[in-house]
Subunit: 212 residues, 2 copies
Amino acid sequence: MKIGILGTGSVGRTLSARLAELGHDVVIGTRDVAATEAREEEPFPAPLAIAAEAAAGAELIINATAGQVSVAALDGAGAANLAGKVVIDVSNPLDFSEGFPPFLAVCNTDSVGERVQRAFPEARVVKTLNTVTAEVMTHPERVAGGDHTMFLSGDDAAAKSTVTDLLREFGWRDIVDLGDITTARGTEMMLPLWVRLMGALGTTEFNYKLMR
Amino acid sequence: MKIGILGTGSVGRTLSARLAELGHDVVIGTRDVAATEAREEEPFPAPLAIAAEAAAGAELIINATAGQVSVAALDGAGAANLAGKVVIDVSNPLDFSEGFPPFLAVCNTDSVGERVQRAFPEARVVKTLNTVTAEVMTHPERVAGGDHTMFLSGDDAAAKSTVTDLLREFGWRDIVDLGDITTARGTEMMLPLWVRLMGALGTTEFNYKLMR
């Protein structure tokens, strides 16, 4: 599949590398290709393009930017380039501006997932993967052999089916559909526990298995 | 142990019945004993007393009131009656005033656990059990034979040790100490996911197992 990834941080890099390894045609979108290349010493695992070009050429787009700037970043990619496409939102609005622990810049009665869906009503937004670190997103077998749970939220059933297939390619086996995009509040609000568990356990490689 | 339970709803009832069954000396505290008895058809599983009396006679107190009114309810029990004692806070500030899904009346940069600790600095507050339904709090074996995780938060290590022993009496085996009382933000913020999972799964009897 032709996949455009917005975000050049560690999440964007890790997703790009894994998707390329799985045989997908990946382009990483950024605001300024030359500036991104000049800033980063390590080569990127997929070609860079300006965000609008990365989105225009893609069948599926992944938002791997910080939650606070996601709507602006997707706006830079262009609403027309998102229309009708599956947009996977893996972002979290963690705000470290007042130190540790971070707070959420949006939560409780709204979420980044909902903001993205409202801002781009023709995009088919699916929130998922935001509850684990990038290495676990792409290699769930790194924790307990993959015996744990991934949630997803979204308004479009066909989009959720496409994303479920992609999650299975990564190795996810227990995938729980929470319902419409407003359920993204629940998974984004798991992050305050996540950051404290990271401290208590001394690792970022953990997740929850839903027992029922 | 002499245990005072504040809260006459289903959580208070379920905890009282289980603790009495385990041999503890339980008193249920309420604002007005006659009014509570007049309102409720089913007999209570332990004797009722006014909140101050229930707290004064107890070695350990459980706050099973709604999160929004917990500080007021504990104030009714009397700060002097809480001083030096372990106070287990199992409450959640779920606000259904605008319908479903509920939002949290406090979250993100504060929590009910912290509010209770700040309001009663001499109490030894431990937040726990708020992430599961009352039947699972008291009988964890109802879900996956008890193979799942309970978190706790608090500033007082000895209080957390006392609470850990009580959790083991209920049947909890995997108990994770998240750290100080500010980590209660994380477990209270799991509730928006919990209410949506209840809908997706069609049951209240589920929990998470922390995989690491």
